[in-house]
């Protein structure tokens, strides 16, 4: 049942001979041009380190004020979460939930999952939930929208510049750092390699029992 020297393109289903590109090289599908793989040096170590950094940064990014605003002597500051609360109080519960999921909960779950997975792989510890974590992380990927949120902050600030004084807070700097870290994490996390390692751990564990 198991075939290891073939691969298939996920987007055009072309049957390919399995070629593992060297580190720094890219493999593209010859028929549809999809980027098939781009292996990264020390994928597991890097992902583990970046996940720890991201997890730590998540807290200042969420707990410290991002933007301070002053209009006619009245001051106010905004957090990621206070935006959700404000929408909720306006009666926009559905939108508030979407914003909460895409900008707070999913990024947190994503970083925790990648921390758990890369940690287990780094220490060679099998865990029967690894497979589930990997699948959840894979499906969550698209719904983590930190960089979109960053752009919204910029647009909102530009809109407010005319009528208010703005002050950028430490929360915003932490948020920018968090985006840099998650982007690097996406680049260094080689899913195929992770799956292979999980499979190995699983088989070894199965034989031991």
């Amino acid at each position: 049942m198991k075939i290891s020297h073939y691969d298939a393109c996920p987007e055009c289903d072309l049957l390919l001979n399995l070629v593992a590109p060297k580190i720094g090289d890219k493999a593209h599908c010859p028929r549809c041009g999809l980027l098939l793989s781009r292996p990264c040096k020390q994928s597991i170590e890097r992902s583990f380190a970046l996940s720890i950094a991201g997890f730590i940064l998540f807290f200042p990014a969420n707990l410290l004020p991002m933007v301070g605003i002053t209009i006619m002597g009245n001051a106010n500051t905004g957090l990621l979460f206070s935006g959700v609360v404000a929408l909720f109080n306006d009666g926009m519960e559905a939108v508030a939930i979407v914003v909460f999921l895409a900008s707070i909960l999913f990024p947190l779950v994503h970083i925790v999952l990648s921390l758990l997975i890369s940690g287990h792989l780094y220490f060679n510890r099998p865990n029967r939930y690894l497979v589930h974590w990997m699948r959840w992380m894979h499906h969550l990927d698209e719904w983590v929208m930190l960089e979109v949120y960053m752009l919204s902050i910029i647009v909102a600030c530009v809109k407010l510049m005319a009528l208010a004084q703005l002050k950028l807070g430490w929360g915003l700097y932490a948020f920018v750092a968090l985006i840099v870290i998650t982007t690097l994490l996406t680049g260094s996390l080689d899913e195929e390699l992770f799956w292979q390692r999980i499979h190995q751990l699983r088989e070894r564990n199965g034989n031991a029992n």
């Binding site: 075939i3 055009c12 028929r31 647009v155 009528l163």
Partner: protein, 204 residues
Amino acid sequence: MQTKANALSQGFIRCHDCGYLVKIVNQPLSCPRCDSHLHARHPHSLQRTTAFLLSSFLLYIPANIFPIMIVNQFGAGEPNTIAGGIIELIDSGMIPIGLLVLVASILVPSLKLIGISLLLLCVHFRWQVNARRWTTMYRVIAFVGRWSMLDIFMISILVDLVNFSGIQIIAGPAATAFAAVVILTMFAAENFDPRLLWDTQQDL
């Protein structure tokens, strides 16, 4: 490196979740590597994509005619539609930002709706096209979709920050509709299987 065959026609299924290639023997139900259900193509891809697409077409109308946010200044409310907000930005000289919002909130959602419709029609009517080009179009659609959330996040920031006794910004009914459009089109793109574009080409 290149063979000339579809994996499915050679009896292989690539796991949708972990990318493992499995030789089909007596229809195995789950992937040996990650336990998820195996299916050669997304199940009911066309039906599901059509359903999500039609719902987003419907919601696209209220999203554009109702105000997406209302600026209350000293008791007088000034409703802003999506297009109105962009015109205001451009009028006040913030042209790059205005164009950015124009792309994210108007061009991307509408081109996405048209693009997914074309992809569905192409597969349904078995149009003979340059499949590589159409796959690229699909990839672009799937990639840009999330950026339309820009307006929604911006509203959550503005509603939160501008909340004083003299001036207030509140979210309008179009916000819910617009968020729904963005999410439904993302679901539509996720459910569309680009491999169907290749399956319907005869001269491969």
